[in-house]
């Protein structure tokens, strides 16, 4: 179903910071004046189970939090690739953490795949827990380039800040991760 909303799905397994990534994007959108709706979905296990969330960016109107089709997907763990691929609407983009998922191939021609070695990039930042922020940085960049959602560096940093709320000491490394992801995405574009 076609609407004016942009639906972005984040998937992975527990512990990868999926909810953080989604929430950060939603916060960034909010600071950019876009109405975000962030919907997590949990399994029953406390750890290790599949983890997923959806961020819907809309302009002014209340979107449905139930979105079957997405415009963008972030895949942190290979297991959910196929499913997300199917759930994307034509013209959608799919950003995968290639450090974990390895080489994935699209089976649909109307989508664009962007492999980002987020874990490796994060390890270079000496903090393998920021892979989620790296990939979100890349996503933000791609949202601008492909789906017309402009989130400035400033808004993204603001999103990070609000999501980290209280854990101020983590700002530096996360901002670095963000920039690193953005840059990587830009480099993809220029390739």
């Amino acid at each position: 179903m076609k609407t004016n909303d942009t639906v972005i799905r984040f998937t992975g397994i527990g512990g990868q910071g999926i909810l953080f990534a989604g929430k950060m994007l939603a916060e960034a959108a909010l600071s950019a004046g876009i109405h975000p709706c962030f919907a997590p979905s949990y399994g029953a296990e406390k750890r290790g189970g599949p983890s997923e969330c959806t961020v819907i960016l809309s302009h002014g109107e209340l979107p449905s939090p139930c979105a079957s089709r997405s415009q963008a997907a972030v895949v942190m763990n290979g297991a959910s690739f196929l499913r997300e691929e199917q759930r994307l609407a034509g013209g959608g983009i799919i950003v995968v953490n290639s450090s974990v998922c390895g080489d994935l191939k699209l089976s649909r021609a109307d989508l664009s795949l962007f492999p980002v070695p987020a874990s490796e990039l994060a390890e270079k930042l000496k903090n393998d827990r920021v892979a989620n922020v790296v990939i979100t940085g890349a996503l933000a960049e791609l949202l601008g380039a492909h789906l017309g959602i402009q989130l400035s560096q400033e808004h993204l940093v603001e999103g990070l800040k609000r999501t980290l709320a209280g854990k101020g000491d983590l700002m530096a490394v996360n901002t670095e991760a963000l920039t690193c992801g953005q840059e990587y995405a830009r480099s993809l574009a220029s390739q």
């Binding site: 179903m1 076609k2 909010l30 709706c37 997590p40 029953a44 209340l62 939090p65 139930c66 079957s68």
Partner: protein, 353 residues
């Protein structure tokens, strides 16, 4: 000034709404998907000189609500489906003693232990009365984080206005999802009402008669009298507290009726259908009790068909059938056990026409 927009979950919005309404007492027991409310309250209430107490069970929680409400404080409990079932006796007592309080059910998949996915299977329990006897509670059904906050504040006012427990009913999706929330100026807790058991000495001159909160009415005719008074009150509430929301209903030939998060899917479907030139509209009950019978009846006389969309086997459906004009065809789109209703599914049903 609290005029800032924050990204918060529906659960958090319940807590903020209650606090901003001057509620300083919370009793509850953990249960997914709404434990966040209790957790938030446990962190902030002690700082505000309020009371957070994790009750030993939902049974204890609802009876603590009875005690605190009877003592004249603004008080809230929150839970999810199985936990709410344990409150049914207490709820009937609260309604009988006419104690104002707010009870939030963030519904999950049932019946039984079920699962923790969103559902709307507790409509009957909230609206028709899951406890014994002829009592009613206003039931408010928000559809966004903002409205959760707003209606939570409203709920406290309704509770006081009518001396009655008030239910807030929404599914776990609304509870856990985050949206921008604009809070309003918080108000301080209102003073103890004139019937509250505050101890005689609380009354300036110390001359008032003892007060009692009770629900046993043995003398012949006494309980009948109580019921008459309650029913008269319920009729008044039914007249004065109807809340609903309409979208694109002006010239609609098909009307979707949905509440809570399903209404959001419905609105999206309706918007798209409108773009396709279909004359469809959305009617959203905001108060499930009192159900907006008259408004819906009026609309039902104009439309060709009503589509009820609901995450249950068809509970609100009955109220729609009771309200709608006999001429109006009624279709149903249900989902159970944590299944969601997507805009696309509603749209296809609208396109079938």
């Amino acid at each position: 000034m609290k005029d800032q927009v924050e990204l918060v979950s529906g659960n958090r919005a319940v807590a903020s709404g209650a606090l901003d309404a001057g509620c300083r007492m919370y009793f509850g027991y953990p249960i997914t998907p709404q434990t966040e409310i209790a957790e938030y309250m446990s962190a902030v209430l002690p700082e505000m000189n309020g009371v957070f107490l994790q009750a030993e069970s939902e049974l204890a929680a609802i009876n603590m609500v009875y005690g605190a409400a009877g003592a004249g404080r603004r008080v809230m409990t929150t839970s999810s489906s199985p936990g709410i079932s344990l409150m049914m006796e207490g709820l009937s007592y609260l309604a009988t003693a006419e104690l104002p309080c707010v009870i939030v059910n963030v519904m999950r998949g049932g019946p039984g232990l079920g699962n923790i996915a969103p559902a709307q299977g507790d409509y009957f329990q909230a609206v028709k009365g899951g406890g014994h006897g002829d009592y009613r509670t206003p039931v408010l059904a928000p559809w966004s984080v903002q409205e959760i906050y707003d209606l939570t504040r409203t709920a406290f006012d309704l509770a006081d206005r009518w001396r009655n427990p008030v239910f807030i009913l929404f599914d776990g999706l609304l509870g856990t999802m985050m949206e921008p929330l604009r809070t309003r100026e918080p108000i301080p807790e209102r003073a103890a009402p004139s019937w509250a058991t505050t101890g005689i000495f609380a009354h300036g001159a110390n001359d008032r008669a003892p007060r009692s909160i009770y629900t046993l009415h043995m003398p012949e005719g006494a309980l009948t009298e109580v019921n008459r008074r309650l029913q008269a009150k319920y009729r008044e509430i039914a007249r004065e507290e109807v809340r609903y929301d309409e979208h694109f209903t002006g010239d609609a030939e098909i009307l979707v009726v949905a509440y809570g998060s399903v209404a959001r899917s419905a609105l999206q479907a309706v918007r798209v259908a409108r773009q396709q030139g279909r004359k469809v509209g959305l009617f959203r009950p905001v108060s499930l009790w009192p159900f907006p019978e008259e408004a819906l009846h009026a609309l039902s006389e104009k439309v060709r068909k009503i589509l009820v969309a609901e995450m249950s086997s068809g509970q609100m459906l009955e109220d729609v059938r009771l309200a709608a004009a006999p001429s109006c065809k009624i279709d149903f789109l249900g989902a159970m056990g944590g299944e969601l209703i997507y805009p696309g599914t509603i749209l296809s049903r609208l396109q079938e026409e």
